[in-house]
């Protein structure tokens, strides 16, 4: 039974200039004790997906459709239906789902001590007096490997190093022992050694608490190391979803394949230009019709050549299960004779 199920989530930003479909039909599941990696280029909707789950999407963004089902007491509650500033969602935020994100420098208020902010998080979800909450905060700091926790509590975030700050951030996210930790690029701003330590810490904490982790990153290395399952996103859509081994060793979607080709490897010949993905991410107001990746796809099928008349620049592909637990959204894997998808004019 999945801990959290996201079903066909769509989060749009509606402005005068046009509508940005930041998340456009994302579907995936998260399981206790497992890590789901979400990977994609900047602007593919990874972070907005995370924020949609917690219902903290900034204006003018808003969830237009889809379900976010959180398992609770044997049943499910749909987070997408909750009042975004209501009591119920606030119980979920920090209480059941913790968030760690990419900028440890600015994720803490510069004029409040780190301890003040962590203790606040504890007291929001646990009925503890100030002294006990402080003791709990010290315990949390020790758990995430901060030395001299008593002293650190009274320091300001800008007095801590990047690694310590991220550890403090994780401690704050874990204040109420959430069942799910969303880590949005948790190591991007850190140097390589600290990165490795933080990832190690997350793995360690997961072993101890059996929580689920949703790890958002653009770093395929981190994914390879941490994730059990991987979701590859492109322009707000899930293009491929599968176990980490399948994604790395038998990628199906041309986009995933291209991503993996653009990684420098130790056995590659030196001083040779790496293959790149041609073109760039289209402007959000000018999404291509059909498969959003088709203008950059090497294997694009034009209408005349395509079987059943299904072509990439006209028909939007749906997620097709290629094997157990591995699905891909690409017309290349269409079974012959399957229903022709509706031609969707995405660009408006």
């Amino acid at each position: 039974m999945a801990l959290l199920s996201v079903r066909d989530l769509r989060t749009y930003f509606v402005a005068d200039e046009g509508t940005t479909r930041a998340v456009d039909g994302a579907t995936f599941d998260l399981y206790a004790g497992k890590t789901l990696g979400i990977v994609g280029e900047t602007g593919c909707g990874k972070s907005v997906t995370a924020r949609s789950i917690l219902r903290i999407v900034e204006r003018p963004g808003r969830i237009v459709s889809g379900e976010i089902l959180l398992q609770r007491d044997g049943g499910y509650i749909d987070l997408a239906k909750l009042d975004p500033d209501g009591r119920e969602i606030r119980r979920v935020r920090g209480g059941e789902i913790g968030l760690v994100f990419q900028e440890p420098m600015t994720s803490f208020s510069p004029v409040h001590t780190v301890g003040d902010q962590v203790i606040e998080a504890i007291q929001l979800h646990r009925r503890l007096d100030k002294a006990r909450a402080r003791a709990r905060a010290i315990e949390l700091f020790r758990m995430v490997g901060i030395s001299r926790p008593e002293g650190r509590l009274d320091e300001y975030s800008w007095q801590l190093s990047g690694g310590l700050r991220q550890r403090a951030m994780i401690a704050m996210a874990l204040a109420a022992e959430p069942r799910l930790l969303i880590a949005d690029e948790p190591t991007t701003a850190l140097d390589v050694t600290t990165q490795a330590q933080i990832l190690e810490l997350l793995r360690d904490l997961q072993r101890k608490t059996h929580m689920a982790i949703m790890l958002i990153t653009h770093d395929l290395g981190v994914i390879a190391e941490m994730a059990d399952d991987v979701v590859v996103m492109y322009l707000g859509r899930v293009v491929e979803h599968g176990p980490v081994d399948q994604i790395f060793h038998a990628p199906k979607h041309p986009y995933t394949q291209a991503l993996l080709r653009s990684i420098p490897g130790i056995q590659h010949e030196a001083r040779v230009k790496l293959p790149t993905i041609s073109g760039s991410i289209p402007h959000p107001f000018a999404r291509p019709a059909g498969c959003p990746f088709h203008p950059r796809c090497a294997l694009v099928m034009a209408c005349a050549a395509a079987p059943d008349g299904v072509c990439c620049d006209h028909h939007e592909p749906e997620l097709i299960t290629v094997e157990e637990g591995h699905s891909v959204s690409c017309h290349l894997y269409r079974k012959k004779g399957a229903a022709v998808p509706l031609a969707l004019e995405s660009a408006r």
Binding site: D219, A286, A289, R348
Partner: protein
């Protein structure tokens, strides 16, 4: 770990391949054309496009332009000699102008009869409805030189059959029985030009000192910065008052005029110097400056070709925003009797007559000069705001 952790997806941006041509919605084609237009437009063009979107700033630009047209043609717009005082017309209320006479468009005013109320000893005025004085466009009046060199006596309006000076008071008369409208025209001329002269002086101080601070940095920067901070924390009005009061009494209008502009700009330069210094500092280390240097451009070429356009737009905006402060300063000083003194005319000088509440309560039209002051300052603020936003055309 080490190799794996460093694998980062960084798609390099390359032009899209020629095939396959993406079918695009018509909107997208327009979008591309617009994008192209944007990418080849000069910086000034971009600023203009951006400025145009700021409606309030556009309207304000129109208002400011109108006011300065008024400055140029003040003598033409004034229909009465601003110095012609008439004891029989002191504190005459504004006159109603009647546009139609017997259903025919023929603007006229009634003649005025002034009498002294024998119980209160105040002058009271009544309209003499038997005497219609027709308002004529392009009438002849007092002599003046149009634009300073064309001798003429034509004015926008005048009266038929009676001397204009003693019979037409559209905005009423002042304590000496002089026509407020005509005096307002000349005051606008003084107040708006004194602001310009003052701001030019401030600009000179500001650009030189701010430029030195920003360009040389180090000790010079510290000294100038401290000086600016000190001048910022001194209350300016008492200081101006002191300096203005120390002007010799026997100075003529022109001397006082320039002394006042110097006094006002003595403190006004600080804001401009800050802007200049800040721009200098931030631009000095920009990549494109380095690139120009590496390409072999000399310092003058860098300053005038690469930096000046970026600079100039900010300076124009800052200057526009500094102007209202200058105008207020002059008005305040003259209002106190420490700035321009009669017979000079400025908004502040006119408002001096409105210092006393009892007088104003009986003759509220003496406060009329406050209206152009407010409008001009508001317009300059909006205009400056629009210019400041437009000055950074690549910003958000």
């Amino acid at each position: 770990m080490a190799t794996a952790a460093n694998i980062v997806v960084t798609p390099v941006e390359t032009p899209p391949p020629a095939a396959p041509p993406a079918p695009t919605a018509p909107g997208l084609v327009d979008g591309r054309v617009a994008e192209e237009r944007v990418s080849v437009a000069s910086q000034w063009q971009l600023m203009w496009w951006r400025f145009r979107k700021h409606r309030l700033a556009m309207v304000s630009a129109g208002i400011v332009a109108l006011f300065y047209l008024g400055v140029i043609f003040a003598d033409f717009l004034a229909y009465a000699d601003p110095y012609a005082s008439e004891g029989q017309r002191t504190l005459l209320p504004p006159q109603a102008i009647h546009l139609f006479d017997d259903g025919r468009f023929a603007p006229f005013v009634y003649g005025i009869k002034g009498e002294r109320d024998l119980t209160t000893f105040k002058r009271v005025y009544v309209e003499d409805t038997s005497r219609k004085l027709y308002v004529r466009p392009f009438a002849t009046g007092f002599d003046y030189k149009l634009l300073g060199f064309i001798p003429t006596n034509m004015h926008l309006i005048g009266l038929d059959g009676a001397p204009t000076e003693t019979n037409l008071f559209l905005l009423g008369g002042d304590l000496q029985g002089r026509d407020l409208w005509s005096r307002l025209m000349y005051s606008t001329q003084t107040s708006l030009t004194i602001g310009l002269v003052g701001v030019t002086l401030s600009l000179l101080f500001g650009v030189v000192l701010g430029g030195i601070a920003g360009y040389y940095g180090g000790f010079a920067d510290t000294v100038i910065q401290r000086l600016i901070e000190v001048l910022f924390s001194i209350p300016s009005i008492p200081l101006w008052m002191g300096l203005a009061a120390a002007m010799p009494r026997d100075w003529g209008i022109v001397q006082v005029y320039f002394a006042i502009t110097v006094i006002i700009s003595l403190i006004g330069w600080t804001t401009l110097a800050r802007v200049v210094r800040g721009r200098f500092l931030s631009l000095r280390d920009e990549d494109f400056v380095k690139a120009a240097e590496l390409a072999g451009a000399g310092p003058w070429r860098i300053i005038f070709v690469h930096l000046a356009p970026l600079f100039l737009s900010h300076i124009i905006a800052a200057t526009t925003l500094a102007l209202p402060a200058m105008i207020i300063s002059e008005t305040a000083l003259s209002f106190l009797g420490l700035g321009l003194r009669p017979p000079a005319m400025s908004w502040g000088v006119l408002l001096q007559q409105a210092q006393n509440v009892q007088t104003v309560a009986l003759s509220p039209w003496l406060m009329i000069p406050a209206i152009p002051v407010t409008i001009v300052i508001l317009a300059f603020n909006f205009l400056g705001d629009g210019l400041r936003d437009a000055a950074d055309p690549y910003g958000v």
